[in-house]
Amino acid sequence: MILDGKCPTGPIEKTWDKHRFDMKLVNPANKRKYKILVVGTGLAGGAAAASLGELGYNVEAFCYQDSPRRAHSIAAQGGINAAKNYPNDGDSIYRLFYDTIKGGDFRAREADVWRLAQVSNNIIDQCVAQGVPFARDYAGYLDNRSFGGAQVSRTFYARGQTGQQLLLGAYSALARQIKAGTVKMFNRTEMLDLIVVDGEAKGITVRDMVTGEIRSHVGDAVVLCTGGYVNVFYLSTNAMGCSVTAAWKAHRKGAFFANPCYTQIHPTCIPQHGDKQSKLTLMSESLRNDGRCWAPKNKGDKRAPGEIPEEERDYYLERKYPSFGNLAPRDIASRAAKEQCDDDRGVGPGGRGVYLDFAASIKRLGEDTIRERYGNLFEMYEKITDENAYKVPMRIYPAPHYSMGGLWVDYNCESNVPGLFVLGEANFSVHGANRLGASALMQGLADGYFVIPYTIANYLAKTAPGKVKADNPECKKSVDDVNNNLKKLMSINGKKTVSEFHRELGRIMWENVGMARSEQSCKEALKKIPALREEFWKNVKVSGSGAQFNQDLENAGRVADFLEFGELLTRDALYRNESCGGHFRVEHQMPDGEAKRDDENFCHAAAWEFKGVNAEPELHIEPLKFENVHLAIRSYK
């Protein structure tokens, strides 16, 4: 099937304004009759729930944490982009649009990206009004910095905790609506199924993580804002609770999953220290503004970094990309680090690391300036590694960080299942095959504050409120299905723990479908994943009972979904017989090792339809048209 993204036509500058006018509205008096279920309370979900509640809709919001303030958006460090052009350095909505399309390696929809660039300015204003303490200069004006993949300073930031401050802004807006009674908040509640009635999304089934109760909530529309899936690699920069579960359950109920192979591997993470590690920690990309990446020139050089003379160091990013240097986009910087390590020139335990050296900057600017800029990051680095990065270079290595792929949505952020909207990282829309720094926060808030309030009305206006009641047989069926699934998990009582399975899956994924993929490695993974899944359902051990607070059971459910999802990711990676952005197929590279796209055959989004656990999914294609930014080889030299 050829999918239609329902993008407005005409001059790109007018698309969003025109579309806003074309969409239907819901009468203010009728809004409270519509119930909207918002799952997830990160930037996208928190902003959406708050904005929809404020408009007068009857909103129910759900999060698995103990408070909506804890969503993993909070961990974003670097900043948020906006085309304000405050520094007068040549930025514009068009340039942000252009950079994002190019940065995504021409695998995103133009209209969606245009809209994102257009509303980016409103986001900054909105956050300022909420009291987000963005960095300011002495005169009181908002400060900007540059960020990977851009040649203008368009990144707004709040120390190294921009995500935290933006999330707390959205959380405070949400808190205001909870107090006002327009939003009902359900903490420690995990979505375990989507309820589809007559082809439309009309509810969710959840598990109360404190009591273990399984119950369904019905509404007139469901908005999924449940984040990304890179925990499929086990070790990632995501929070421990981040999972594909909500998106996967929706996928199983008919929502197409688009481009799951687009995963972002972030270049500046702290290398793994041992096999008992539970997660990887990201160091803000902003470090690359003043740090220089290098590896020893000689293979197997085991000397301490200080003993390696200047001429025996390979500043590989500066060498390979003279114009962007250490600020090359993430996918490129990550792959370059991997290249060095694969060439036996890596440093640190296991040779999986490269240096990020601040010595030159400290010499040029002084230690105090560096401390002022990155003090908290250096401190965090020292806490984890016990090394002082003012004295010895940091060791960094890429780690799974973000998923560009996600549930397929049209221009309205609505999936192919009517009534199911997907926002933020959970959808696939704007980042193409690679996301630029400081644009995830932008997308989450754009979708939540400035897209969904308009587009959901267009859907609701066409449907009668309260069409589906709680006693609908689909609800009972869904609750039964969830209960049975949990019972099954509890009853296996095998020998291996959930974490052991997760780790094993992560290893398969990282080795075969990680930073570099090949036909052979994908096929290898496609053999191993189903086998592991089969073993899981025979041999997993889940402790406790379902009718209580049970973190082991929560994890088991998430890993079970990853075991299904990992296969789809791999299948997509195998299908996409080209290299683009974060998806690197070793068969397709330029002579210098850059990703080689195949626009002839793959200039489209690949959306997969679920056909059963062990059945092949069906592929649907949405062709991508580039009418404003012309398809070109992405070059950062």
Partner: protein, 251 residues
């Protein structure tokens, strides 16, 4: 750098099935702990062993494991988050301990934080305080340009110092009075100094301190133990600011 030596530790962990159930300490051995492991990774290992032995693993809250979400919450040897300066439990590393150490692990204890299970407590009361007024009533859309309100750097920095609060509740856990005054004051101060928050400053400080009282938190008596417990180093000067804002609001 990596240490080769591993450690064996004795853990006394608070186990409690639910808010109404009696709790008690259980003793566990943590073997071959690497100094490079985080505290939570050490507990993960203990839990793996418990699960394999058919026992109930220790329930504890955690999520981001990079010290920012505020989910992790344990009192270790009598100190919230383990007592390392400006460090959450998830960022606490085992190199802080010595081979053979005995470690007491307890949940946050305060009337306003009922225990859910083991080391997991219900911190909903902190949300209630924010809901009482920890926001500006900005509508989505229809706001002024970000640069229309000038906020000089020192004010922005002051607000940011307060805004760093991660809402973990360590201030309550550390406070001999079980008071959430540092938490409340951080939000009150952040919004009180910013021009966009000034309009509602009076109402905010009254509503938020009122909610604090209603939620069953204790009163602040200036022990400053909260600042010592805070993993983000939130300063008690914000409590002074809250007091000042409060006095302004009633006179």
């Amino acid at each position: 750098m990596s240490h080769d030596k591993t450690m064996n530790l004795t853990l006394h962990v608070w186990r409690q099935n639910g808010p109404k159930d009696p709790g008690k300490f259980e003793v566990y051995e943590a073997k071959n702990v690497s100094p490079d492991q985080s505290f939570l990774e050490m507990l993960d290992e203990v839990n793996e062993d418990l699960i394999k032995a058919g026992k109930d693993p220790i329930a504890f809250d955690h999520d981001c494991r990079e010290g920012i979400c505020g989910m992790c919450s344990q009192v270790i040897n009598g100190m919230a988050h383990g007592g390392q300066d400006r460090t959450t439990v998830c960022q606490l590393h085992m190199r802080m301990f010595k081979d053979g150490d005995t470690i007491y692990i307890e949940p946050w204890r305060a009337r306003a934080f009922p225990i859910v299970k083991d080391l997991v407590v219900d911190r909903g009361a902190l949300d209630t305080i924010i809901q009482a007024g920890g926001y500006t009533s900005a509508h989505t859309g229809g706001v002024a340009d970000g640069n229309a309100l000038l906020v000089p750097k020192d004010i922005a920095d002051y607000a940011m110092d307060a805004a760093e609060c991660i809402g973990c509740g360590a201030c309550v856990a550390g406070c001999p009075n079980g008071s959430a005054m540092l938490f409340t004051s951080a939000k009150v101060s952040q919004l009180a100094v910013l021009p966009q928050g000034k309009a509602e400053a009076k109402r905010r400080v009254q509503e938020m301190t009122g909610a604090l009282q209603e939620c069953g938190f204790g009163n602040c008596t200036n022990h400053y133990e909260c600042q010592a417990a805070c993993p983000k180093g939130i300063n008690v000067k914000f409590i002074a600011t809250l007091n000042r804002e409060y006095l302004k609001s009633i006179f």
